[in-house]
Symmetry: D2
């Protein structure tokens, strides 16, 4: 069976996660990894696992046998690599966000479109078995017309200061997943965003004009509402719950726990905590995500999470930031007007 | 609306529980309480609540307006009071067990039958909303033909030594409820009993040749099986769970907790304990039990838990004791043969 | 033991609910019921249950033995009856809301203060055992500093058109309970309100410029946030869930189900629905609410839910309405300024 | 890093499951597969995955680089292959049961001991994360002294008639896992077995004097009890639950569900079924099982599940069969006496 030959750009945590999953996949084949720093790969088992480890990204773009590029480098490099990959005729899987700048994101996606390569945005949660079943239940009309989408999304502990500095802020770094999930579940476009936030977890965030706690309300074209609550620190573990309330019922997915253990004593019954963080919680989702990408390429089907999906989530992050500053709801139609160079995709 | 006038014999914990429920019921009216010791009633609000408080049970049997007698005195007095009540033409509600002696139980029930009064056995768990729904689900064929009934029945803490001394032993005092529940849920008669037991909670039990931990297996006429596990001490609270496994599914009722509270911290998620003991757990069931009795009398309908039900549960307790001693399964047909004066009801 | 003698004004659903609970309470004694229409009481058992049934409220205000008045009549009559009761020296229990007009509410509470009578607002959910335990867990610092309070509050089915017409709108009629709960749990005052709403359940609501679906975000003095989601129609039953997320954990109370029944078949495991509506869900809470009121009077203690609590919840309802119209967050400080005749309590 | 070189005997469902897991393991390396029928391997991807595919088991026993043999062939061949592998100096992983004959099992284990090779019995459930945590909780004294071990173990659907014919019967084929789990959790030896069983699922079983529904009670040296209930058909999925009740609490592991999905409508709340069968439910356990075996070999540590563990579980299966026939409890001490050629290991 034919496999998709992959080159990965960026050998950090997420790049190597994809690398390992590609190696185990029957649909993909890892050909090369490029990074500016490859020391950690040279002294390890990676030497056995991948043919080419390089510091020159051109080795990937110019590689005749590479079908697709996984862009897992820093966000500020995404746009350049997307455009170069597209020009080189490589299909693209790109981690979120595409960029911190809507205009640049649009430009990159324009090149992708012109060159006719496929592009998948890296919203891994769409591939989680629990969330996928919630999505399918909504599509199969199990709960009627959706009225309210609720998402609780809380990290187990705050990232490092160094990370926060370059993260793009809570909405662009963390809520962006929830913005995508809300759109995905509602199957309608957001028309208005209203955000409230606070700095309650760690004063460090305020040094970078960032927040660590937030509630964001979305209004959709179909009239329905969504609400997201975020925190950078849920001490009990990675809290990832979704709920879709509709005209004939409600469907939800609660957290995946570390085990089904229950211990009852005279002090109550204790259950295990949720799985610790995204590497454990979304382990299977990451596998499914890249296999979906591979199948889109092998069967020439539309990708399951498009560049426009990536752009829309970024747009919502920008809108949330503006709402926070103006203390008012932000209409997306007005936001796109303000960003005047931003053409409709 | 007409009410059933009641006299209670025995003003202990269970007698006064029924008394309070009768007072609140729209179907029953409390006329008299009799006990050998009424001091605790004379100095309290009971004076306002009930017209007659007496040490002479004849005041109840001879009372022209009393329709029904609740027998809540010590087990060794039940048979005498049942017979006298029946002869006096009073309907009877009798706490479990009817007696410790199968022959005497049968004799009492024979008098009841001859005198044509109604008789309800006090198996309160039949009236629990959760267990009732399990029962109804089985009857409505929600799980197909029953194959296995499972009952976990564990007290929160052992009774006093004084109580144990006169309790009739684990099977007669505690498992008797589970024997009745197994018959009730299976809707078939037991043909064989096999019991294993141990003394693990408190050596005190062994002083009275009693056990505190047991597993009893029942075989039914319909070929199905039941298993009961008991303990005199579940430190996490009153553990009362039932499950009916059948050819097309399984139905169960887990414990009722003290509240729905959930607290998640870095040490896990903690839930509340089950309701502490029968007074809390079966609070509503005791109310429903006596109202069922009242409705049977008011509408002249069969009672919901008969004297034969009481006898059958006692028979199973005897069989379990014999099985424990002989280390073999006991066939009920052989047991009845052995007890030769015991005629089939 | 001395009891509080009570007169009830308003013999509708909630008035009779309190009447029945007062009759069963050891701390209260029902003396009189007044309503403009008493036909439904004259032909029923109520004749036996209460000494005086009258169409003249003065019979209650002038009654020498009545200690406290329960005001359960239409909202538009509350202020008048509060003032007359206070002038008559009667303590007051008043159903929510006190009035639809902040200025009138303040005036009534001013009279109450001047006359020195006690006044309890009828926010029954504070007395629910589950919510009470959540409250206590927060107070006992089980989850650290509260960061986010989340409340899901959805009715099983919309009220009648006649009810909606006089309801005061979603925020004043329904969310008012959630506003009180958020303040109660957070133990801090709200400084800003932001509301989004929609008309998705029934177009009837829009005839009265009302909404049926809403998400409201609150910002508190302590910097924390709360979010409430409402719907007038949750087909699966009365959905009443709360969660307090804090710096060291999260505490929540999920719905109380109709039973613990679980049935597993080849189509999954089915559980019972939540208790249907407030009469079932808050049955015990209503009992506890009036006993708390009675204890405050008997022991001369502060009431557990004050007139100011009632006023504050109304203030939040008004703010939510303004936020909905202006599509902006409403600062409570500005709202009180606008309502210039509204003095600080 | 050094890996254990493995040869697999038997390329059926379980043999190929191990083969796939060995291929993905960092600790093991698959060298050869032997089976009498290898057609299904020759026309598939297995050609790429394993160097040697052979119909001659000697190719494995004589292979100089093979360290360990996985015996996954029919039970009636196990003893021969164990002895030949031991003589060839290969370490052994053997699927359950070792044999249907206690004497033969003992003989094989004697050869293993003489030859000094390591031997692991294939009780995969010991490696399940949930059950492992239950085990550890008991060992860490979280529930005090164990009093009752409860195991529900039910297959989703009966095996084929062909399978049943050679299965060794319910106790040897299916309950054997539960016998091992009970011993593992209790950490004490069984002294007595009492079994009840029925043929309720399919009359086919009775053709082979087999049963499909059973309850087995075990008494342990430490005085505690265990109870196992089995069915060949749980239509809602693979039902695998364990509970250890002790002097200071109870620890349990409920089923792993296919997802956390919950859908609430006016007909109740529906949850997903348990994972379908052992391939899904114990997927991770099978991986952990062989890695444990590998680590025992690499670090020369005792195996985690011994040949004696395999023998003991078989002994319990024989005892259960005798108890079923004799309708009496079977003492293991007497059973070993009866089997006079069976020496104590």
């Amino acid at each position: 069976m034919r496999r998709i030959n992959v080159g990965i750009i960026g050998a950090g945590r997420i790049g190597l996660l994809h690398a390992n999953n590609i190696i185990k996949s029957n649909l993909l084949s890892l050909q090369a990894i490029a990074d500016i720093n490859i020391d950690h790969l040279m002294e390890s088992e990676w030497q056995d696992k991948v043919t080419m480890i390089t510091t020159n990204v051109n080795d990937i773009f110019n590689h005749p046998n590479i079908d697709a590029v996984f862009i897992c480098s820093s966000t500020n490099t995404h746009v350049e690599y997307i455009e170069r990959a597209a020009i080189a005729g490589k299909h693209i899987f790109c981690e979120k966000p595409i960029s911190f700048n809507l205009k640049e994101t649009k430009h990159a996606l324009k090149i992708v479109k012109e060159k006719g390569v496929k592009f998948q945005s890296g919203f891994n949660r769409r591939y989680d078995v629990h969330f996928r079943k919630v999505f399918e239940s909504v599509r199969e009309n199990k709960v009627g017309e959706p009225h309210i989408v609720k998402i609780s999304s809380r990290d187990p502990s705050p990232p490092t200061e160094e990370y926060v500095k370059h993260s793009g802020g809570l909405f662009m770094d963390m809520t962006i997943h929830d913005f995508d999930m809300a759109r995905y579940l509602m199957n309608s476009e957001v028309i208005e965003v209203s955000a409230k936030a606070a700095n309650l977890v760690d004063p460090m965030f305020s040094k970078y004009k960032d927040v660590d706690t937030a509630i964001i309300t979305l209004t959709f074209e179909n009239g329905a509402l969504a609400v997201i609550d975020n925190s950078r620190q849920a001490v009990y573990g990675y809290d990832q719950r979704i709920e879709v309330f509709g005209s004939s019922g409600v469907v939800s997915a609660d957290n995946e726990l570390q085990s089904n253990l229950q211990i009852s004593t005279n002090r109550g019954t204790i259950l295990d905590n949720p799985k610790h963080f995204f590497l454990e919680r979304y382990k299977e989702a990451y596998v499914e995500e890249i296999n979906c990408f591979a199948r889109s390429l092998l069967d020439n089907l539309p990708v399951s999470c498009t560049g426009v999906d990536g752009y829309k989530a970024e747009l919502l992050a920008h809108a949330a930031n503006i709402s926070l500053q103006t203390k008012a709801a932000v209409k997306l139609s007005e936001l796109e007007l303000v960003e005047k160079n931003v053409e409709v995709l």
